[in-house]
């Protein structure tokens, strides 16, 4: 594995994704707060919107939304890149030289997404909570410090740990699936498009299925 390739992949899977991950998670947090406030107001329980937004983002929504964004953005790019390399005979050239594809093509991609996804999840969760905060400040009578303290008291650290672990597995799955789809692709331009689409679809469906498994496991383990 070349350090240069790893750094490029880390950059693409991390810092380059901050804007889109931030925007989507901010909006999700804001929507959750808005819907939550409208309903909770009927029971005079508006302050619990902090728990709603915090727990939903930390435990489920940010991990899933970030993973879906990365499946569409980075997973699709990996599949397209590898299938293009296949069509250009670049993979054949590696094989003929006896240079392992796993080390030179797959490992930087898989490592990058697996390492960056948990960090993006943390970032996305904080931005999601901030989105909820912005909406709540405009719709309910609570001080910024009060909202923050309520969030800290309502959202346990284990919710973050659970989401963090899930994000790692989601990232690994997206990268592995995308690399496999790319390597199995045909060699025409149309096949590149098909591979990218397939990687995104498999990524998204797989993430949701994995999340369901995580939910059952968490329930069984009492997390």
């Amino acid at each position: 594995m070349r350090t240069k390739d790893l750094i490029t992949d880390l950059w693409n899977a991390g810092p380059n994704a901050l804007l889109i991950v931030g925007v989507v998670n901010f909006l999700i947090g804001a929507i959750l707060a808005f819907v939550g406030l409208v309903e909770l107001r009927r029971f005079a329980a508006e302050i619990y919107v902090t728990n709603l937004v915090g727990i939903a983002c930390a435990r489920e929504i940010s991990a899933i939304m970030t993973a879906i964004i990365m499946a569409g953005r980075t997973g699709g790019a990996y599949a397209a890149r590898i299938s293009t390399m296949l069509g250009n005979e670049e993979i054949d050239a590696l094989k003929v030289f006896g240079i392992p594809i796993s080390g030179y093509i797959l490992l930087p991609a898989i490592l990058s997404l697996s390492l960056m996804m948990p960090l993006l999840y943390l970032y996305g969760t904080l931005i999601g909570i901030f989105g909820g905060f912005v909406v709540s400040m405009s719709m309910m009578d609570v001080s910024p410090m009060g909202y923050w303290m309520s969030t800290v008291n309502g959202v346990e650290l284990r919710e973050f740990a659970f989401g963090f672990v899930k994000a790692f597995f989601f990232g690994s799955f997206i990268a592995l699936a995308a690399c496999r789809v790319g390597l199995m692709a045909g060699r025409s331009a149309a096949d590149v498009g098909i591979a990218a689409t397939r990687a995104v679809v498999i990524g998204i469906v797989g993430i949701i299925a994995m999340d369901a498994v995580f939910a059952v496991m968490a329930n069984a383990l009492g997390i």
């Binding site: 005979e89 670049e90 050239a93 003929v96 006896g98």
Partner: protein, 264 residues
Amino acid sequence: MPQSDTLISVRDVELSFGPKIIQQNVSFDLKRGSIFAVMGGSGCGKSTLLKSMIGLLPPTTGQILVGGEDYWAQNEHRRTQINHRFGVLFQSGALWSSMTVGENVALPLEMFTTQPPDVVRKLVEVKLGLVGMEQAIDLYPSEISGGMRKRAGLARAIALDPDILFFDEPSAGLDPITSARLDDLILTLRDGLGATIVIVSHELPSLFAIADDGIFLDARTHRPIAHGSPRTLRDNSSIPEVMAFMNRSSTIPTTDETKADRHV
């Protein structure tokens, strides 16, 4: 002990994709120091045969002997070692697009030699100099022309000083002058490095200019139908398909006389 004159021996090889047979009964010997042409029309299986010779596609049946060793009977580790005797120029150049031209040539040297970085850099400059590409050492493949990509691919192919070079359609997509220069370069490599060369091509001027032995694959019968140098086949062959191909004729003669002359 004197070295055997035959470097690669292809014995009764059959190539197929699932039930679809591409070529069968393919047998020929590759003499040391020769330039061997694999000829035939589009879709006859020339590149598929090349792939089976360089380790990308196992034949369905038959043997490919490299220096007396049955290539496909070896384990992957041994095949990789044998592959270090090969240099391959792919049809599109197949440069690794995320690396500069220099890095493309350097990677095999870094992977399979113990040379320090400054020596690798010098070797890369030498290899690129051989193909007239030293000025493109820091350019990416997307920044150079098709002809330059082929030359850079050739520099990468000779990075490990292979004794067998495989060229897949080296002249395809090149203008006549660049194509002629590439032919000269191939002859220079053969004479300078003492390499044995296999060329898959249907570019007749190139084949006549440089190849001294060859095989003609027929797309219709999925078998080789002629052996010999392109010039000999052009001048002496009585097989209609070969005559038509070598003389760029749009029609294949089908007289009883020519049919009777058919031989393999």
